[in-house]
């Protein structure tokens, strides 16, 4: 994992002290709320429905155990004993006191963490594939470039006042777990026919009020140019992006209005002027950063572990969990472990301080002291020996972190919604809870198979509802919560936007509607056909007909 150098550490500490003084100025009345708001937002501090909310960056989802313990400490001492994992792979605290902020930021700085640029019209936390560096099918480890992008985008003097916020995601696998096509810039690391490493570059993707799938504007960008090319994109956007209307200010609108070809021409022109400049990455620099992500001290192990196989046979609960939560690792004898933070009937992504601490201990014991946060609001242990899986599972059970629903309907993405969020129009968490309860039976979930259900409490789509196979968005209709159902979205390499099926449902009605959709799918699917495939084959009609009645 990347470690701060002296400069980074000193800088973050200085910023914490500086914000502490700004908080004092606010509390003593030297700063008004209008003057203070942009400052607090640039440090990740929002004012939500019940209290201040602090968003702490987890760069491309990578955390070490000391950091997780510090987050647990903050939850326990300064919040109400829990945190919330977000779709930007960050952690949020919902009940923060402004007067505690100076201390909290110093605590965070002590473990190389902060909330800088987790809000505001700047480049936000870079997100990445949570299996980066370990996935069996990975082409290249994207973290090296995530880190280079993080350094480039942190306090970039030109890009601190963009027309609107800006999000970048990077993947290095064939399978897209980072939703790169729903980002302002999405980077897909791959190899060309000569075996050289480079990026396919997508721009103008995004969800929210006007969703778009990103357009590919360059099939192959040599890796040494990733900073200069992103700089060129940002320059074009910073100059031409609309600032007259907040709702039209994201790069997706610019790309859509001018067309991706015209946009890419401007980028190429800008890039031609800067590509050989200071941002060109010497191979030595790439290699220097790569060293931070060197593989841990793996043991030479056989691919199969006889004890693991025997334990699976002996313990059905373990077998179920292992079937659902494990993914193939690059190294023989190791597994990637998905840890669900969406237990049945509980808010997706919420994690208590005791769970954080317990999980940090597990990371130390079984995973070289590191862990990942996923955009699905879950956690991952990337490097567990197969022979340790049974012990790990027992400890996860004790922590309440052994739900076996990875990639199933119970593992929803869900934003905070009207239970916490000041922008919400409806609640979303209670729906996620009800849906996971409705489909609680693990056998039924397994029978339904791979499906992604995403929901948001308003059109801002923090819960990625447009790219859920089933998407739900809450709206306010005359002070009553109403939920719209959309089908056909995908967040993966075959990204697509869901389409609204028809009029919305109330809170109970939407849970029934989801069940109806699932039943139709089960009735009509071909053997081994996933939900999204059945939907793409049949289109919305069979679902519409059953939910709203066939047209006369």
């Amino acid at each position: 994992m990347y470690e701060y150098d002296e400069f980074d550490a000193d800088f973050v500490n200085q910023r914490a002290l500086q914000f502490g003084r700004q908080v004092e100025s606010r509390l003593s009345g030297k700063l008004s709320e209008d003057q203070f708001r942009p400052i607090r937002l640039m440090n990740g501090l929002y004012l939500q429905l019940h209290a201040y909310m602090l968003r702490v960056n987890v760069p491309y989802g990578c955390l070490n155990s000391a950091q997780m313990r510090k987050l647990a400490h903050i939850a326990r001492v300064y919040d109400k004993d829990y945190g919330h994992l977000t779709t930007r792979q960050n952690m949020q605290f919902n009940w923060i006191k402004l007067s505690d902020m100076p201390e909290i930021l110093l605590e965070l700085a002590s473990v190389e963490m902060h909330g800088i640029q987790s809000s505001g019209n700047c480049i936000r936390n870079i997100t990445a594939d949570e299996y980066a560096g370990v996935a069996a099918e990975e082409i290249e480890d994207p973290r090296v470039y995530c880190e280079l992008l993080r350094q480039w985008s942190s306090l970039h003097p030109e890009f601190s006042f963009l027309p609107r916020k800006f999000k970048i995601a990077v993947t290095g696998s064939e399978k897209d777990r980072a939703v790169v096509k729903a980002h302002d810039i999405g980077l897909r690391l791959h190899r060309n026919e000569n075996g050289e490493e480079g990026f396919e570059v997508f721009v103008g993707g995004g969800l929210g009020r006007t969703p778009f799938i990103g357009k590919s504007i360059r099939a192959f960008l040599p890796t040494e140019h990733v900073l200069s090319y992103c700089e060129a994109i940002l320059r074009v956007y910073n100059q031409l992006g609309r600032r007259d209307n907040k709702y039209k200010a994201r790069i997706k609108i610019l790309v859509h209005e001018m067309g991706s070809e015209a946009f890419s021409e401007l980028v190429e022109k800008e890039w031609a002027e800067i590509k050989q400049g200071a941002l060109a990455l010497p191979q030595a620099e790439i290699e220097r950063v790569r060293e931070f992500f060197a593989p841990p001290a793996y043991e030479a192990l056989p691919e199969e572990d006889p004890d693991f196989e025997a334990q699976r046979k002996a313990e059905p609960g373990f077998a179920l969990w292992a079937r659902q939560q494990l993914a193939a690792h690059k190294r023989a004898g190791y597994a990637i472990v998905n840890v669900s933070c969406s237990p049945v009937g509980k808010p997706p992504g919420d994690i208590s301080s005791a769970q954080m601490e317990g999980f940090a201990d597990l990371a130390d014991t079984y995973n070289f002291g590191e862990m990942r946060v996923t955009h699905n609001q879950n956690l991952v242990l990337t490097d567990v020996r197969k022979r340790d899986l049974f012990d790990l599972w027992k400890k996860l059970v004790a922590l309440g972190l052994a739900t076996a629903n990875h990639g199933l309907i119970g593992d929803t993405i869900c934003c905070p919604g009207l239970d916490y969020c000041a922008l919400a129009t409806a609640r979303s968490i209670p729906l996620a809870e009800k849906i996971s309860e409705r489909f609680a039976d693990p056998e039924r979930q397994a029978e339904i198979g791979e499906i992604y259900l995403n929901m948001s409490g308003c059109i801002n789509a923090c819960g990625h509802h447009h790219v859920g196979n089933i998407g739900i968005v809450g709206v306010d209709k005359k002070n009553t919560e109403l939920y719209q159902l959309m089908l056909g979205g995908s967040a993966e390499e075959d990204a697509s936007l869901g389409k609204i099926l028809g009029p919305g449902f109330d809170e109970d009605g939407i849970v029934d509607a989801v069940e109806t959709v699932i039943n139709i799918y089960i009735d009509m699917r071909e053997p081994n056909e996933k939900f999204i495939e059945t939907y793409r084959r049949l289109g919305p009609e069979p679902f519409k007909d059953r939910l709203y009645g066939a047209p006369a």
Binding site: L27, S28, L47, L49, H50, A51, I96, L98, I429, T480
Partner: protein, 97 residues
């Protein structure tokens, strides 16, 4: 229409209402609503002043109604603020913490 002034307290963000004796209180129960438009505007003006004096943030007039003997905000969003998250009834005002 009955109205009260709602805001977040500056120091900790806790939701407060403009209550008796023009003090900011944490519970709607301690907060007599007004039915007079003039009085409502005067109360909101007090809120604006309190914001200038660094006591609270975001003063706003909201509509409330009596429900089983207690006051509840009419709008869902404000009802949530007056109570706490519906998914964590062990937290917030509803739980007295």
């Amino acid at each position: 229409m009955q109205q009260v002034v709602i805001a977040n307290r500056l120091t900790d963000g806790v939701v407060v209402f403009l209550g008796r004796n023009r003090c900011w209180v944490e519970s709607l129960d301690d907060c007599p609503p007004t039915e007079q438009t003039d009085e409502a505007s005067a109360l909101l003006a007090l809120g604006v002043k309190a914001e200038e004096e660094q006591e609270i943030v975001g003063p706003d007039l909201i509509e409330v109604a009596s429900h089983q003997g207690t006051l509840v905000p009419v709008k869902m969003r404000e009802a949530m603020r007056a109570r706490g998250p519906s998914t964590r009834t062990d937290l917030g005002k509803q739980a007295g913490n």
